[in-house]
Amino acid sequence: MNKIWIGLLAGLILGAVDGATAWFYPETKNLLAGIMVGSSIKGMVVGILSGWFARKVQSTGWGIAVGAAVGLLFAFLVAATDTVNGRHPYLEIMFPGFVVGAIIGFLTQKMGATPMKRQEL
């Protein structure tokens, strides 16, 4: 399985789990299904991008950094388009999104097949 698929799968699963934690917040409890779907999609996007990056650059540190950054970005986008109780839930979405992105970045670096480098002639 190549790294992009790893990223997609990891992003899907972790995104779903992250979305599911909304169950603990009463104000979002009833929107759980929608949140989980959205979070999963967000995760998959982050995963695809991280996986692509991991194919190009093999470095655990950079993988984590890039994953975290991308995760933060998309978390921001989601938070910006979302309103809960009249305010944007920046903190609640971006912070975890940052960490989840880091995890996805780490996993895409450690797992999956790297493309064979073309022989320099």
Partner: protein, 275 residues
Amino acid sequence: MELSDSVLAHLRHVAALPDLSGTRYELESEIGRGGLGVVYQALDRELDRRVALKVMDAALAGEARLIARLEHPAVVPVYDTGSLPDGRTFYAMKLVGGARLDRYIAGNPSLAERLRAMRRIGEALAFAHTRGVIHRDLKPQNVMVGEFGEVYVMDWGVEAVAGTPAFRAPDAHLDQRSDIYALGALFQFVLPAAAPPALRAIVAKAMNHDPAERYPDVPAFLADLERFQEGSAVEAWREPWWHRLRRFGERNAVLLWLLTAYVVVKFLLFFLRKV
């Protein structure tokens, strides 16, 4: 005539010196005494380089010829052989610089460096075994570590002559398993005082009194070493569960930290929200 002590000592020394007049070598100094014979430093006049010259009785030369066929980075290469006028045989080989293993260990290298040396020694031994050569006298005095970390195992195939019994297996017959015993004893010598229990278990397994209980061959020994270095479970040692857990934690440290961070973040957000 009455020989004084000093003359006697002198005669013993000079009559033992090899007469290299018919050869291309020029005797320079004595380096040491191995199991088979004396080793001298000599100058190869034709190639203008220094070599080690091992001089032994012709009867013992057969074993040396077998070893001369071994080609391996950790086996000292043999360049030349010949007969001396007094009937002895000589072998010219690479002059190895560096320190003997006992001196190398006295310099207190790191555990990683010690393990690397052990691996090199083990690889040499494994190679020799596949060629049917048994060392029979493996001990720190027979291993040299060069300045770049290269390792040489020397004095092959000589049965230990009342040398260092600590490294000699209790077996009646000296074969590959007794070499493994010696390898374990060597490992014990190489390890620092406070060595991890997994490594001590490897030593114990290699030095088991019953040859059947030791590692079946050198590659098995090396594999266990490698497992230790990777952080996997070592075959020789059954570790307690908390030790296994800690090892798991060390191997997957990064991931565990990231997951912890996630949980912490979630908790903080949850409880701070209430405020």
